[in-house]
């Protein structure tokens, strides 16, 4: 059975849930083989792969995407995988682009589902035009390269994978960009935005005070998001921006608080299962697509909802 390469998305010694989900997709097409950059971690057993290719030797002062792409290309050259699955985040796309040129292979990005056609080839599902269309597409030239979004499948059981270690030495071409400083933002206690089941987001209507949004999010065990307006105003960090130029999310529940619903925000959350909006303006565009719209001031509605949620959830 052909290998399906899956690039692990690491978080220190942990591996993100999205990697295990992608591995579950990979299993539909072949034998999942994990590419794990930065040394072995026991978390690799939990993602459900048959093989782990540990990549060592990429120095901290080297920009990761070109060096990782080079390592993945080398492993792909040895194994001849039937597909290469990468995370859909910023670095995943950069790696996908470099691999595409290197391997002469097509890429489909932001995949939300992957199914075999009658001949077993992967057909990818994507969202298009701000979530208003579902598109099915495939790679027709070269080894299919796909970047997969969180939530595409349910993770499978843990395995006892075979481990192969590759010590690499990034080429001159792959190490021309020097990283002089790297700051990993502290994770915080809330779920990661891209993977959260429930998200509570704040916009212009917060007037810069996110405490009510955060308190309600914590009452629901939810992630906190922000609109571009709130981020541009400096009220909340950029990493929490939901929308076209921030994170694209698709949670079970999205609670938009004081967010009018600019097209670029809708593009980032319109595929959420349920949308709830709290807004003073009943004419705000977000109200037209919310499953529940509460017309009111978030600074009074949310504290009450927070108290109620604590009561109901015990």
């Amino acid at each position: 059975m052909a290998d399906i390469l899956v690039l692990a998305e690491r978080d220190g010694d942990e591996i993100r849930r999205a990697t295990a989900e992608t591995v579950a997709l990979a299993r539909r097409f072949g034998s999942p083989a994990l590419v794990l950059v930065g040394g072995w971690t026991d978390a690799a057993r939990a993602v459900g792969v048959d093989t782990v290719h540990v990549v060592d030797g990429i120095r901290d002062d080297v920009l990761r995407p070109p060096a990782v792409a080079e390592a993945v290309a080398a492993i792909a050259g040895d194994l001849g995988p039937a597909a290469i699955l990468l995370p859909a985040g910023r670095e995943g796309k950069e790696i996908a682009a470099i691999l595409s040129v290197r391997l002469g292979a097509g890429v489909v990005t932001d995949v939300t589902g992957l199914d075999p056609d009658d001949d077993g080839w992967p057909v990818a599902t994507q969202s298009a035009f701000a979530g208003t269309f579902t598109v099915r597409s495939r790679v027709t030239v070269g080894t299919p390269i796909l970047t997969v979004k969180p939530g595409a499948a349910e993770p499978g059981p843990a395995t006892d994978p075979a481990v192969v270690t590759h010590t690499v030495n990034p080429s001159e071409a792959a190490s021309r960009v020097r990283v002089t400083d790297r700051t990993v933002r502290p994770k915080g206690d809330r779920p990661a935005l891209a993977e959260a089941e429930v998200i509570v987001s704040g916009g212009r209507g917060t007037a810069g005070d996110f405490s009510a949004v955060e308190a309600f999010a914590d009452a629901l065990g939810a992630a906190v998001g922000a609109s571009r307006a709130a981020v541009d105003a400096g009220w909340y960090p950029h990493a929490y921006q939901v929308g076209q130029t921030g994170v694209t999310v698709s949670p079970q529940v999205y609670v938009a608080c004081g967010i009018s619903g600019a097209i670029q925000h809708l593009a980032g959350m319109q595929t959420s299962k349920t949308i709830v909006a709290v807004n003073k303006d009943p004419e705000a565009p977000i109200m037209a697509l919310a499953d529940l719209g509460v017309v009111g001031d978030l600074h009074t509605v949310l504290p009450q909802a927070t108290g109620e949620a604590h009561t109901r959830r015990g």
Binding site: G131, R182, H238, T274
Partner: protein
Amino acid sequence: MKIVVLAKHVPDATADRRYQDDLTSVRSGIEGRLSELDEYAIEAAVRITEAGGGEVIVVVMGPDQASEAVLRALQLGASAAVHVTDAALHGTDAAGTARVLAAAVRQQGDVDLVLTGMASTDAGTGLVPAMVAAHLGLPHVGFVEELEVADGSVAGARETETTRERFAVSLPALLTVTDHINEPRYPSFKAIMAAKKKPVTTVGLADLGIAPDTVGLAGAWTAVESVRRRPKRAGGEVVKDDGDGGTKLVDYLVRNRLI
């Protein structure tokens, strides 16, 4: 300093965007514009040349109506433009676009810096910049939020979802900037008038030495099998907060087993 900015003409995000029979997106009859995220790259380039001299050449690939984006880029301060247009380009995917844009950059001779926006606002794959860099053999840095050019090199900072990295790279290089790098200017009346006199070169595939069958739908490395419009989200219930808005909100979530 010679800077090339790669930019795209896109359908307006508020337009009724849809697909035609060959599963490419409808462009005619739909209001188009310079992709908003490209304005940041143009602004970054113009600021560099305003400070240290040089020229900014914007390259746009697209059908005739993409000249709207070309004009806008010139109004925003680019000194000259190349409009790559050819009937054979209809349906070109990211891989093909990158080959064409790389050829257009090569045609400019010695270029110090290539800048792009972080993604287009229509297809938004975000693949093209790193692909172009790979074709040109240039180092690539994506998602740049801060940059400074000095003594033949660029230093700055880039952001991924979890990490901020400070970087340095010798020129030439290709950088992709985000919407956090600057505040693009509104063109002045003078800039709008001046743009009309700036040189625009229109080139086809033959001028770039690209065979027509390697691009377009036939030359694409990916294929769209089907497109389906999602059922439009119907607005649901709207309730007014009469002192019980928060309770109603949580009621709704509990009733629908969402929490």
